[in-house]
């Protein structure tokens, strides 16, 4: 296993810029773009380098302060988290570019500096969460992430955003409480905070104190599922994601909910491991909730007339797909889940950014009033169409690849029922995206004759992300080098 300081450097760089930007913006507002994009690209470069290291030399670890486990904090980049880092930075950078223009439009001017500070801290927290190999360190970064996520919703300052972020915060705080309780219980019976070391004691603890281990795992899963919006616990998500500024919606829906799943993934894989997870009925529970989430999220999305709310409900369904892979647990299902984290990040960010452009140009959030915008806004609508088709799972786009792996994984795990679930849900997904696309290209123009493409910085990011969907659909092999599939 190699050791490299490049694991914590991107977190440090993003945090540092996050601290500095609100102050610098006050004095030199025109430096904002350089600083934000500089920090974002630096993080992307470092994540790329880490992914290269993982692909060539296996997992990379780092001991903070030189204190190895079990005493100090360990940071571990394995193949899954390498993909997670690439997702966070790769999707994050185009969104940052978009935000540089949209934030000035959607927020009050003095708040713009704070907004970018919060967004960069949010990205740093996601990277920290994905890499954490110590349960308490995971908790700390999860908290930075939750609070920053609430803040970038609340900063919009209108009635709905304030209410949604308060609900998000209160439910999230129940999640924090239960996560900490889970950590306390597991620490009490294993005596370790480092996941691998706790894992070595887990079998003994399960014999000695079975109820405590069950409850500890249960509370951890409950808390992280609240924050990741697993189906019956998703109530906070639609309003929060729909009322946030456009760039925040893209980040929250595309990335943030998935970062918590990485945490859960680590806890399952390292702290418990295959053998012990069989002894606990947690997987069956996750599968049931994931299935319900996929179907209910899709059905609820069909009923929405507000474009952003529709996209938010679609996120509930897609979180279900990732949990499905985690619950199935076979190698190809896990691969499918990991790919879906990246793919959904690209698709949903593209969709939200395109939706932001559409809303801005047509001044309506209603999905039935977008007739004829396809001709007026070819780039935006093109990106929307590609991403939506990928969402449905039409080959050769990337959504197809991850759904294919999930389906294969379901067959590997001996449960073809979930292949049916994926097929039905894909049809349902088609039902809510198709009318928008058909209306945009084939219906006569609505009342928004002066709708036109926004500045290039707002058109380019969704197009880039949609291009990513196409490329990863055609050449998934590039990722397989990291994931080793």
């Amino acid at each position: 296993m190699t050791s490299s300081a490049w694991t914590v450097l991107p977190v440090g760089v993003l945090l540092g810029s996050g601290y500095a930007i609100p102050l610098v913006y006050r004095r030199y507002p025109h430096w904002l773009g350089t600083m934000v994009l500089g920090a974002g690209s630096a993080a992307l470069g470092m994540a790329g380098y880490l992914a290269y290291l993982v692909a060539t030399a296996g997992p990379v670890q780092y001991f903070l302060g030189g204190w190895g486990p079990p005493w100090g904090i360990e940071v571990l980049v394995d193949r899954w988290s390498a993909l997670g880092l690439l997702t966070v930075t790769g999707v994050g950078l185009p969104v940052l570019l978009y935000a540089l223009y949209s934030a000035r439009d959607e927020l009050e001017t003095p708040l713009v500096g704070k907004y970018f500070g919060l967004v960069l801290i949010l990205m740093a927290a996601m990277m920290g969460t994905v890499m954490a190999a110590d349960v308490f360190n995971l908790f700390v970064f999860v908290e930075v992430l939750s609070l920053a996520a609430c803040a970038i919703v609340a900063i919009k300052g209108d009635r709905i955003a304030t209410e949604a972020s308060l609900r998000y915060l209160i439910l999230g705080s129940i999640g924090s409480g239960t996560i900490l309780l889970g950590i306390a219980l597991l620490y009490m019976v294993t005596g370790h905070l480092n996941m691998a070391f706790a894992g070595t004691q887990m079998a003994a603890a399960l014999l000695e104190h079975p109820q405590v281990v069950y409850a500890g795992l249960g509370f951890l899963v409950l808390g992280l599922s609240i924050k990741a919006a697993l189906f019956p616990l998703h109530v906070w998500l639609p309003d929060a994601h729909a009322s946030a500024p456009t760039a925040s919606s893209a980040l929250l829906s595309g990335l943030v909910v998935k970062a918590y799943i990485f945490g859960l993934w680590r806890i399952f894989a390292i702290m418990f491991g295959e053998g012990l997870l069989e002894a606990v009925p947690i997987r069956a529970l996750l599968l049931a909730m994931a299935t319900l989430g996929i179907l209910a999220g899709s059905i609820l999305a069909i009923g929405q007339t507000d474009l952003k709310l529709m996209l938010a409900y679609s996120t509930v369904a897609n979180v279900g797909y990732v949990f499905l892979g985690l619950g199935l647990g076979s190698e190809r299902a896990m691969l499918g889940a990991a790919l879906h984290i990246l793919n959904h990040g690209l698709m949903k960010a593209s969709l939200f950014l395109a939706a932001g452009n559409l809303l801005h140009a047509t001044e309506t959030r209603h999905v039935r009033r977008l007739g004829g915008v396809g001709a007026r806004m070819p780039w935006t609508m093109g990106a929307f169409t590609v991403a939506a088709m990928s969402m449905v799972g039409i080959p050769p786009l990337n959504g197809f690849v991850s759904k294919l792996y999930l389906a294969l994984g379901a067959l590997d795990a001996g449960s073809p029922f979930y292949v049916m679930v994926i097929l039905v849900a894909s049809l349902l997904t088609g039902l809510y995206y198709a009318p928008i696309i058909i209306a945009a290209y084939f219906e006569p123009e609505g009342p928004h004759r002066r709708a036109h493409e926004p500045v290039w910085a707002c058109t380019l990011p969704p197009v880039l992300l949609a291009l990513g969907c196409v490329l990863l659909g055609l050449y998934p092999a590039a990722l397989m080098a990291i994931l080793g599939g």
Partner: protein, 249 residues
């Protein structure tokens, strides 16, 4: 009983029942359970030599687990940035003016507090600078100083102007930035991020200037916590009062 109460009671019975079962299964209270392992031995045995801190808790949070504490101060920064941003602007409901505070007009209280405040602050500084020697540290000491600043603001009916707001913002960001820089110093010295021993002189354990990085970080954390407490308090109070003025107009 309304439906909400029924749901609440059911949830509580389930949660409480599970928790009681768990308690019955826990290692006995005060016993040497699984926690008393290598980690416990190191943290009650070798802390002094390895970190220079006599207070094991401080040694853990500011040396062995300093990365967590960096995250923790960041949470505090995010909270204050979010709160101030949320309170910054927005429409006003006319009925919302009634609850605003009144300036303090008791001369006795003002006089007593004016005497008490400097001592409180001195005590806060003592707690910050002795965090590695006795119970306390940056968070506790910062809270004490923050409390004294809040008292002071109450007595003098202090309203932060634009400049004071910017100043506290600088203190808050700079102190977290300082923490990060101390971490990078370890990298520059060829050690790990947030290393203490080998980068900073540890001094003689038990003396006021010992513990290397711990003292440097404690000061930053203290300044941050004190400033955050004051800013949050004033933000929450005047966030209310400012809008009352607007509503009257």
């Amino acid at each position: 009983m309304s439906r909400r109460d029924l749901v609440a009671v059911l949830t509580l019975v389930v949660v409480g029942g599970i928790m009681v079962l768990v308690v019955a299964d826990m290692p006995a209270f005060g016993s040497l359970g699984p926690q008393y392992n290598v980690m416990y031995e190191k943290f009650t045995g070798r802390v002094v030599q390895e970190t220079g801190a006599v207070n094991a808790v401080t040694g853990i949070i500011l040396d062995y687990r300093a990365y967590d504490t960096l995250g923790e101060t960041t949470v505090l920064l995010v909270a204050i940035m979010g709160t101030m941003a949320a309170l910054g602007a927005g429409a006003v409901h006319p009925a919302a003016g009634a609850a605003a505070g009144r300036p303090l007009d008791s001369r006795i209280l003002a006089l007593v507090l004016r005497v008490v405040i400097p001592f409180t602050q001195l005590f806060g500084l003592f707690v910050i600078f002795n965090g590695h020697l006795s119970p306390g540290g940056g968070f506790a000491g910062g809270t004490i100083i923050g409390a004294s600043l809040i008292l002071g603001a109450l007595v003098s009916n202090y309203r932060p102007g634009r400049r004071a707001e910017v100043r506290s913002e600088i203190v808050e960001s700079a102190s977290v930035g300082w923490y990060l820089l101390v971490g990078f110093a370890g990298l520059l010295a060829g050690k790990a991020f947030l290393s203490n021993a080998g980068v900073f002189p540890l001094g003689t354990p038990g003396m006021p200037f010992s513990g290397g990085m711990i003292l440097l970080v404690s000061m930053a954390v203290g300044a941050k916590v004190a400033s955050t407490m004051q800013t949050l308090f004033l933000g929450l109070v005047h966030g209310g009062i400012r809008h009352e003025r607007e509503a009257e107009r």
